[in-house]
Amino acid sequence: MSMIECRQMTKRFGDHTVLDRIDLTVDAGEVVVIVGASGSGKSTFLRCVNMLERIDEGDLLVDGKSVRQRSTNVRTLRLEAGMVFQQFNLFPHMTARQNVMLGPRKARGYSRAKAGEIADRLLERVGLVDRAGYFPDALSGGQQQRVAIARALAINPKLMMFDEPTSALDPELRGEVLEVMRGLAEEGMTMLIVTHEVHFALEAATRLLFMDDAHIVHDGDPREMFENPPSERFRDFLRHVRE
């Protein structure tokens, strides 16, 4: 069964159509990088998958569950997908460990001990065990984003979504975040990644989507698309990003 299936999915803000009759299927294990100009609808697309936005027409199935079906529980559906934001959005009143524990504790209903075990394992994995007791404001941007990845993984999602995870970071801090993401991709995690990191897309992605003005205009192999840009529009975009 496919992890994500969009059928003529449409999203509007007022009379502004942000996603226009999108058709897309993403299978388990795919690492999909989404690129496109600012305002083309990339963030909105990810937010629809997590039901942070409601779609207006068509359908969107996450692991077989429709976001439009009344019987679909919003919270259950959100547990299917972990989300990482450009601005990290760590809870400032909680330590790194508490941030990671919150999902398991509250959304999964695990005991404090079990949530703590999960947090310790994931902080270890993102290389931050020694920062477990730190509050977000005492961490660098790169460290904060790694905690945010651990937090998203802690609810044990089947799918991970990243919305420009390195855009708010200084160039020298991006590598540590991309490294963690690469590790996830290698382990076979299904991923939807909005990013302009061309190198990462070339190395880790199995598929590249180019969004333009509410549509997915290209959908193909990253290497092929970079070597042979399928349209003038995409060529322009690449030139823009590489600068």
Partner: protein, 223 residues
């Protein structure tokens, strides 16, 4: 000008009695104000339909009228209005003062809480929802704690204002600190000594309150 320490020592017991009353009124006032203000502030932040307008009127009336008028209205006008509806309503000046201060502080605290809740970054709420938390959990575990921490400094400010405002209940004759001072001056004619002592006692109380708030701020990491 002659300044007499004896007058001061003689007036201290009576003034401390007044200070005790001031403390009670203030505690009841800010306690009640916190309950009213927290509930109303949350209702405003979450835009509870009908309540929005009721609370808008409440906050506007309190902020738009002097507390002296509010006290007079509660103590003298409310019983007469009640009588007009055929109810005998009697309460002490102390009750009137405490209720008045609670209603007054409540309006300002409403605005403080509303502002603090709305100041919580939308991205944090999205992050919590994305983890699968319910709306109630998002409020209890993320929005609430952050908003509470942010509201501590302005709340401390409001508590001190309320403490000082309680002196205005002199107009309904509660017998709090300011009124005790006024009585003593009438009896002894020693305005300098008495009002200085009254001022020092107020200062000690506001200072204590400020220190308590500072301590809470320190322990809580303001965000």
């Amino acid at each position: 000008m002659n300044f007499s320490w004896d007058v001061i020592w003689a007036s201290v017991p009576q003034l401390l009695q007044g200070a005790e009353l001031t403390a009670y009124i203030t505690l009841l006032g800010i306690g009640g104000g916190m309950v009213i203000g927290t509930l109303s502030g949350l209702a405003l932040a979450f835009q509870v339909p009908l309540l929005r307008w009721v609370l808008f009127v409440y906050v506007s009336v309190i902020r738009g009228t002097p507390i002296v008028v509010q006290a007079m209205f509660i103590y003298f006008a409310v019983p007469m209005i009640a009588l007009g509806f055929g109810t005998q309503l009697t309460f002490s000046a102390f009750t009137a003062a405490s209720v008045c201060l609670a209603l007054n502080a409540g309006a300002y605290i409403t605005e403080i809480i509303r502002g603090a809740v709305l100041s919580v970054n939308r991205g944090l709420i999205d992050a919590a929802l994305a983890l699968g938390l319910s709306r109630r959990q998002v409020l209890a575990d993320v929005v609430g704690p952050i908003a509470f921490r942010r509201s501590v400094p302005p709340l401390g400010n409001q508590f001190i204002i309320s403490l000082k405002d309680s002196a205005l209940f002199i107009v309904i004759g509660v017998g709090e600190l300011a009124q005790q001072g006024d009585r003593l001056v009438a009896e002894t004619g020693r305005a300098i000594e008495v009002w200085t002592t009254v001022g020092v006692i107020y200062l000690a109380m506001t200072f204590t309150l400020a220190m308590i708030m500072k301590l809470i701020e320190k322990r809580m990491r303001i965000l």
